[in-house]
Subunit: 191 residues, 2 copies
Amino acid sequence: MEQEIIQYISEYISLEPDEARELARAIPFKACSKGTYLLKEGEISKECYFVLKGLVRQYETVDGDEKTTYFYTEKEALVAFESANEQKPNGFSWVCEEDSVVVVGRFDEMDDFYERHPKMEAFARKFIGQDFSKYQELLSSFVTLSPKERYLALLEKRPDLVHRVPQYQLASFLGIQPETLSRIRRKLATE
Amino acid sequence: MEQEIIQYISEYISLEPDEARELARAIPFKACSKGTYLLKEGEISKECYFVLKGLVRQYETVDGDEKTTYFYTEKEALVAFESANEQKPNGFSWVCEEDSVVVVGRFDEMDDFYERHPKMEAFARKFIGQDFSKYQELLSSFVTLSPKERYLALLEKRPDLVHRVPQYQLASFLGIQPETLSRIRRKLATE
């Protein structure tokens, strides 16, 4: 896993071999079995994560129902910015829906970490930028695309998701009822 | 305006007086009259912006219709990450809907700028984090909230918007038809 982390970071910033070795030792990761919660609604977020392997689902409980608002898979970062920045109880939960391996970043050690590894500040900025563009696009899709078009966009951009999560969670993530998703899928199958 | 920029940056990072003076000189801003485009669909984004004063609307053209996907107002940043990072034509436009004053950041001068003002890298990271949380929340709202609830949340979080933009643009931003927004407003008025 160390090798994978370094390889990934190297896509964003250039690292000398000894810097890479030092980083590999400095970056902590952990294995979490399916069902593990990385964050629960109401807790204050103290850590961010980066998925090396697996799938983490983000959901909010609304009137007793779990509304799935995101699926994080390989090479995606989990950051509950508002809770961490403002030290307020978080509004959603993160639960591993597959056995997962994640890099762990503790917020209270972050400034220290960046001081010891200044290049990582540029990495974080570039990485967050890329991640941001994904959110921008997804957000716009709720205004510019129909539910069917959103489903087709998901199939194109994240084809693996459809096979990794139950249909009712996928429907929730698309902002539609499970029956609507079934209808869309049936219609597409006959087209 | 220099003073406002420095004051704002100081909310995120600590600056010595001479650092602040140097930054104030180094950060370029410009005044744009209503109707000015900061970016047009199909162009490659070369600059990012930060609104000091005014209102910039983001929209995509879908089947000849303008779909409004965001309104940027004071203290908000405009970054077309995907177009800038991947040097590909941008999918949306930015147009000033009020006379505006914006800070301008040229991407090709960014690395240089951070090298000369290393503290600004921490500022960018913190600021983007805060901005990110806004997008996260807005995105989740399309899954967890009804159109009426999304309108109420907007009234609470950005009460000025309702008076600054036409209702049909506001409806588009909320992902609903103008008639639906009228119905919601009428219903709320009688409640």
